[in-house]
């Protein structure tokens, strides 16, 4: 069909993901056929070292996890931004290198700030 772009080299990946998913499902299905199932209330309780679970399982958790998630977004985007630059490094030469050093320095200032604000500190 005209107008439908098919990135052909990605077809194996698409098939691979489907087969890998089917592999997982298939293993579970075979297990489903051969294994026995005798559930009762005590067995189906969440594991808490043998005593009855106390309180809600989804407890409040530290704000630190949110901070880490936000920092992750910033630094991961930076890493991804470095990739195309790294690949064409030979062709773009000194000028782009200096530019990237400036970019990394700006980011590093933010990094130092986060460090000083104890964002990486776990109590």
């Amino acid at each position: 069909m005209p107008g439908t772009y098919l990135p052909e080299s990605y077809l194996p990946i698409f098939i691979f993901i489907i087969i890998a998913t089917l592999f997982g499902l298939g293993a579970l299905l075979i297990g489903e056929i051969v294994r026995l199932r005798r559930p009762y209330h005590e067995k189906l309780m969440p594991y808490e070292s043998g005593i009855d679970p106390v309180g809600e399982p989804r407890v409040r958790f530290s704000i630190r996890f949110y901070v880490i998630a936000m920092l992750f977004v910033v630094f991961d985007v930076e890493a991804i931004f470095l990739y195309p630059w790294a690949v064409v490094f030979d062709k773009i030469g000194l000028y782009a290198f200096v530019e990237m050093v400036i970019f990394i320095i700006i980011l590093f200032v933010g990094y130092i700030y986060a460090w000083k604000k104890d964002a990486f500190q776990w109590e």
Binding site: P12, L28, P46, E48, R58, F75, Y83, A86
Partner: protein, 345 residues
């Protein structure tokens, strides 16, 4: 009718043949990798047993060689316990996400010269994307189990994985700068043309960061905090049993083998041998490339076990400090050094 037309347009036989070849390739690859996963568990128990002056598994088959098969059969027959209050659909899909994402990343690994299932130009980026996807499996299983241990384990694990993901990604930038490609096949070829024959020597800092981050990324000792059995029993998969547990376990070992593959392809020269070694020992060039590749992967996997048997587990705050305060600056420094060296020479 239009769907049929779309499938059976002229030349559909060729297309079907092409897809068939891809499917066969993938099935063979999965079969081989699952075999290696099974025997990686055996290898681990043997290595750690020997390091602790024990024999390791000895009962099933000669020297316990059939132990992984016995384990697998056992897991098939184990009851599948799903907690009453679990979030069922999410509970079901979490192990499959873990497994499928770890497995799909194998598509871009060059096992020997020009053999890879998918020859795409962003191979390394794809691997990193897939290893990020694996953290969904972790966080969803922790959430869906509706258990305190699983919840805390999943939370810790996802924070750990995303922290070390950055160091992992940054450490590979040095390799990309040296080879000028993201395709692992091209990276290996560029290494063969490099004077030392592999990148681990000029990229020693990057290699160090990569290895440490890879261990943390796959949740292995000494960074196996999420499954710290003395405090969180088994972390995010505490509520999983039988085959579902086996899928998580397989995903972990595939992740380990995958990291071994990347280390082999990016730092240790993949399927190639350094030219000076061939000069000294000319018969080495008759050894097939796949043997070198698998040998290097097993070397890395052995190092995983060695480290596990040697080092005690880190505390969680130490783990986060290593990731954020040590590895990320080191990785940035590595990029800077590589850049300066490349500009000068």
């Amino acid at each position: 009718m239009s769907i049929l037309e779309a499938i059976f347009q002229p030349g559909w036989v060729d297309t079907a043949l092409k897809v068939g070849i891809i499917v066969v390739k993938i099935l063979v690859l999965i079969a081989v990798v699952m075999f290696h996963v099974a025997y990686a568990t055996y290898f681990e128990r043997k290595v750690i047993g020997r390091m602790q002056v024990r024999m390791g598994p000895m009962e099933v088959g000669p020297h316990g060689l059939l132990q992984p098969i016995a384990d697998m059969l056992k897991l098939f027959f184990k009851e599948d316990i799903i907690p009453e209050k679990a979030d069922k659909p999410i509970f079901y899909i979490a192990p499959i996400i873990s497994l499928a994402s770890a497995m799909s990343a194998l598509a871009v690994i060059p096992f020997y010269k020009d053999f890879m299932v998918a020859n795409i130009n962003i191979g390394l980026l794809f691997v990193l994307a897939m290893s990020s996807l694996a953290s969904y499996g972790i966080v969803l299983s922790g959430w869906a189990s509706n258990s305190k241990y699983a919840f805390l384990g999943g939370l810790r694990s996802s924070a750990q994985v995303i922290s070390y993901e950055i160091a992992l990604g940054l450490s590979l930038v040095g390799v990309m700068m040296m080879s000028g490609s993201l395709n692992l096949n091209e990276i290996v070829k560029a290494q063969a043309a490099y004077p030392t024959g592999f990148y681990a020597i000029p990229q020693i800092l990057g290699f160090f960061v990569f290895v440490v981050a890879a261990i943390a990324e796959t949740n292995r000792a000494p960074f196996d905090l999420p499954e710290a059995e003395s405090e969180l029993v088994a972390g995010y998969f505490v509520e999983y049993s039988g085959m579902r547990f086996a899928l998580f376990y397989a995903a972990e070992y595939i992740g380990m083998i995958l990291m071994g593959c990347i280390a082999s392809a990016c730092y240790l020269g993949g399927w190639t041998v350094p030219w000076y070694l061939i000069k000294i020992l000319p018969f080495l060039k008759y050894v097939p490339g796949i043997v070198w590749f698998v040998g290097k992967v097993y070397f890395i996997v052995f190092c995983y076990y060695w480290i596990r048997a040697t080092l005690p587990r880190y505390r969680y705050d130490q783990l986060m400090s290593i990731g954020w305060k040590l590895l990320i600056p080191l990785a940035l420094l590595n990029i800077l050094i590589t850049g300066i060296l490349k500009v000068i020479f």
